[in-house]
C-alpha cells in the first residue's frame, strides 16, 4: 500500500514574505508609514523582518557602505536574529565582523575584505565565522541567482521619494545586482537613504522592488579609493609606464582596456597625453575603458584620447567633471553618473582586450597573489579583469595577435586558432622594505593551510598572464613554449631578487634574442628619459586645472 503523498506547497516564498511583512507591521505599528521607517525604529525593523539562518546581503561595496543598517544589525536581538548567512561583496566596516562576534551571523560568503583582512583571519582562526567561499564580485553576483540568493537585502541609496522609488546616483555600484536577485525571489529589500525628497533626479530602483526605506541620520560612507596623487609617482613608475605604452599598448593596438588600481597605472594614464602623443598614438590606443572615474585620466580625456568610459562605481570629487563630460561617461537623463559593477565586470571580461595591474607576489609559473600571512583579503574584481574570457567570440586585432603568439606551432586542441586577452602584471622587482615581488613559493600556499582553504588564493593564474612588466623589461609569456622557458623569462625580468639572481644567464640572453624578453633599450626607451617631467599632471592641483576647475578633490588630497 502506498504511503499517502503530502501535496507539495508551492508558495512558501510568498507565504514567508507575507509573514515577515505582517510581523513588521505589527511590531512597528504607527511608526511604519507606507514604506518609511524612522531611523529610531531601524533595529526594531530588523528584529521583525529577519528570521534566524536567513541569507542576508548587507550592502558592503567596494566604495559605498550601508553603514547605518550595519550598525543597526549589530544591535539586533540575538534571540530573534541569529546564525545569519551573510553574503556581501566587501567587508569594509568593523560592524561587518562585529555581527559574527555577537552571534547574529555565523556564515559568510564574500569577495573582498581589504580593511578587515587581519581581523577576519583572527576570527577564522578562533572559529568565530564559517566561510563558505571567497569569490570575485561578478562570481558572487552570479551566485545570487543560483544558490546564494539573499532573502533580505540591506542596501544603501542616495535618496527616496514618498512612494519608495530610489535614486542610487553615481555610486550605484552593486545595488542593481543585489536588488534584482532579492526582489524577484520573494525577498525583502530594505534601503537606507540620505534624504527623502519630493521628486528624484531619476529612478534607479522602482518602488515596487523596495519594501522599507529608512532615513539614515548621516549620509552613507563612501571612500575615494581610486584617487592617486601624481606627486607620489616615482621615476621608476614612469619608466614602467613608458614600457607599457610603447612595448605593449602600441605593439598590440590596445583600444579597449581596464586598469587595475594603483600608482603604476596612474602613471600610464598621465603619460598618454605626453609620451603617448609624442609617439603618435592618440586614436590608436586607449579609446574605450572599463574604469572608475580616475582623476588621473582627466588630462587624457581633455586631450581627446577617450571615447567612452563605463564605471564600476564613482569617485568622490569627480561628480561635476563627469556631469560635464557626458559624451564620455555613462550618465542618466539627470546628468549624473550611472555606475554598475556587474555590467562593468562583464565588460572587463568580454569587451576589453587588455587588463593591466599590480600585485604583491609572482611565482615561477607566473601565478600572482596579493595574499599575505595573517590576512584574508579575498579577490575583489581583479580575476574577472585579469583572465582570458573563453566565452568570447568577436575578434579584435589585439586579441587575435595575442592568440596567434600563444598558439604558434601548437597542434590539436591547444593549437586551435582563437584569440587571447592581454593580461599584464606590472610590478617593481622590490617592494617597500626590500621585499621581493618574485618568489619561489607564494605566501598564498601557507595562508591556505593556515585558514583551511581548499585552494591557495591566487589572484591571477599564470596561464592567464600574458606579460610581466618590471623596471628591468617585459617578459612575453605568450611566446614561451615550455615551463622552463616561462621560468627563465620570469627570472629574466626579476632583477636582483633571489629569483632574478638565480637566472640561467645564457637562456635569458637567448630569450632576449628571440624577443621573449625585451629590455627598455630593445623597446627604444632610454631609462634616463623616465622623469616626472613626462607626466601630464604632477600634482592634484594640476589635475584640477586640467579639469577646468570641475574636479574637486576630497580635503585629504588638497595642498594649496
Amino acid at each position: 500500500m502506498n504511503a499517502p503523498v503530502e501535496p507539495r506547497i508551492w508558495n512558501t516564498r510568498a507565504a514567508q514574505r507575507a509573514q515577515r511583512l505582517e510581523r513588521v507591521a505589527a511590531d512597528l505599528g504607527p511608526a511604519l508609514r507606507g514604506k518609511q521607517v524612522a531611523s529610531e525604529q531601524a533595529v526594531a525593523l530588523l528584529n521583525a523582518a529577519l528570521n534566524p539562518f536567513d541569507r542576508v546581503c548587507l550592502e558592503g561595496n567596494n566604495q559605498k557602505q550601508a553603514d547605518f543598517l550595519a550598525r543597526a544589525l549589530v544591535q539586533a536581538d540575538v534571540q530573534r536574529v541569529h546564525d545569519l548567512h551573510m553574503v556581501q561583496s566587501v567587508l569594509a566596516l568593523p560592524e561587518h565582523l562585529d555581527v559574527f562576534e555577537n552571534g547574529i551571523a555565523s556564515k559568510l560568503d564574500f569577495s573582498f575584505s581589504g580593511p578587515q583582512g587581519a581581523r577576519l583571519a583572527q576570527l577564522v582562526a578562533q572559529g568565530g565565522v564559517q566561510i563558505g567561499a571567497i569569490h570575485t564580485y561578478l562570481e558572487l553576483f552570479a551566485r545570487y541567482f543560483i544558490d546564494l540568493t539573499p532573502q533580505v537585502a540591506l542596501i544603501a541609496a542616495h535618496s527616496a521619494d514618498a512612494q519608495g522609488n530610489l535614486f542610487t546616483g553615481p555610486n550605484t555600484e552593486d545595488t542593481p545586482a543585489i536588488v534584482e536577485a532579492t526582489a524577484f525571489s520573494g525577498g525583502l529589500v530594505i534601503a537606507q537613504v540620505n534624504e527623502i525628497v519630493d521628486s528624484l533626479p531619476r529612478i534607479d530602483v522602482p518602488a515596487g522592488w523596495v519594501d522599507y526605506v529608512v532615513l539614515a541620520p548621516t549620509p552613507n560612507v563612501i571612500e575615494p579609493l581610486f584617487t592617486r596623487d601624481p606627486a607620489q609617482i616615482s621615476e621608476i613608475q614612469v619608466l614602467m609606464a613608458m614600457m607599457a605604452i610603447k612595448g605593449i599598448y602600441a605593439e598590440y593596438g590596445v583600444q579597449r582596456l581596464n586598469h587595475g588600481i594603483g600608482f603604476d597605472t596612474a602613471a600610464i594614464e598621465l603619460l598618454l597625453p605626453t609620451y603617448g602623443e609624442a609617439l603618435g598614438l592618440r586614436g590608436k590606443i586607449c579609446s574605450h575603458w572599463a574604469l572608475n572615474p580616475h582623476p588621473a585620466l582627466i588630462p587624457a580625456i581633455e586631450a581627446g584620447w577617450v571615447q567612452s568610459i563605463h564605471s564600476f562605481g564613482s569617485e568622490l570629487g569627480m561628480e561635476d567633471y563627469v556631469r560635464a563630460r557626458s559624451d564620455v561617461f555613462f550618465t542618466g537623463a539627470d546628468g549624473s553618473l550611472r555606475s554598475h559593477r556587474a555590467f562593468c565586470q562583464a565588460a572587463g571580461h568580454y569587451a576589453c582586450d587588455l587588463f593591466i595591474g599590480s600585485t604583491l607576489q609572482i611565482d615561477l609559473a607566473g601565478n600572482s597573489s596579493t595574499a599575505t600571512l595573517g590576512r584574508i583579503a579575498g579577490f575583489g574584481g581583479a580575476p574577472n579583469m585579469g583572465a582570458d574570457a573563453r566565452g568570447r567570440r568577436h575578434t579584435s586585432p589585439a586579441w587575435l595577435k595575442a592568440g596567434r603568439e600563444a598558439r604558434a606551432g601548437l597542434r590539436g586542441a591547444r593549437g586551435t586558432p582563437r584569440g587571447q586577452k592581454l593580461v599584464v602584471q606590472m610590478v617593481e622587482t622590490f617592494r617597500e622594505h626590500m621585499q621581493p615581488a618574485f618568489v619561489e613559493t607564494l605566501d598564498a600556499w601557507q595562508l591556505a593551510e593556515q585558514a583551511h582553504m581548499k585552494l591557495p588564493p591566487i589572484m591571477i593564474y599564470g596561464d592567464d598572464v600574458t606579460h610581466i612588466l618590471t623596471e628591468e623589461g617585459i617578459a612575453n609569456l605568450l611566446l614561451c613554449r615550455t615551463d622552463e622557458e616561462r621560468e627563465q623569462a620570469i627570472r629574466g625580468v626579476a632583477g636582483y631578487t633571489a629569483v632574478g639572481l638565480a637566472r640561467d644567464r645564457r637562456m635569458v640572453e637567448n630569450l632576449r634574442d628571440r624577443g621573449v624578453i625585451r629590455r627598455p633599450a630593445d623597446i627604444g626607451i632610454d631609462v634616463r628619459d623616465a622623469t616626472r617631467n613626462l607626466l601630464a599632471a604632477r600634482s592634484m592641483r594640476d589635475l584640477v586645472r586640467a579639469s577646468g576647475g570641475l574636479y574637486q578633490p576630497p580635503k585629504k588630497f588638497r595642498n594649496w
Binding site: M434, E472, Y496, L501, V527, R528
Partner: protein, 106 residues
C-alpha cells in the same frame, strides 16, 4: 644593532676617463640615494657605499658589477650615501651619473 653599513668594491675597467669635475646625482631621502663620481688616479674603479639598509651586500655587488660592465670605466671613485633605495633606483642614479660624466669628459 643600529649603525650604517660600509661596503667597498673595486673592479678593473678598460676605458680611461680624462680629468673631470665631480658629478653629483640624487638626494639622500627615504628610498633614495646620492651618487658622487670623482676622478681617481688608479687603474681601477672603486665604489664605496654608506647605507642605512644593512645586509644587502650581495645585491649591491651585483648591481655595481652590472653598472661597471655597462660602461667599463677606469679611474673612477664612486661614493654613495644610501637610505634604502631599491636596486632599480640605484641603477637609474648610476646611469644618470655616467651620463653626466660623459658630458664632462672632453
Amino acid at each position: 644593532m643600529t649603525g650604517m653599513e660600509s661596503l667597498v668594491y673595486e673592479f678593473a675597467g678598460t676605458r680611461c676617463v680624462a680629468a673631470f669635475a665631480p658629478v653629483l646625482v640624487g638626494v639622500v631621502g627615504s628610498g633614495n640615494l646620492e651618487v658622487l663620481v670623482e676622478p681617481a688616479a688608479a687603474a681601477i674603479s672603486r665604489y664605496s657605499v654608506e647605507t642605512s639598509a644593512r645586509g644587502f651586500g650581495a645585491i649591491w655587488e651585483a648591481v655595481l658589477r652590472d653598472f661597471h660592465e655597462r660602461h667599463h670605466f677606469n679611474g673612477l671613485s664612486v661614493s654613495i650615501n644610501d637610505m634604502g633605495a631599491t636596486p632599480a633606483v640605484v641603477s637609474l642614479r648610476l646611469d644618470q651619473a655616467a651620463a653626466g660624466l660623459k658630458e664632462a669628459t672632453p
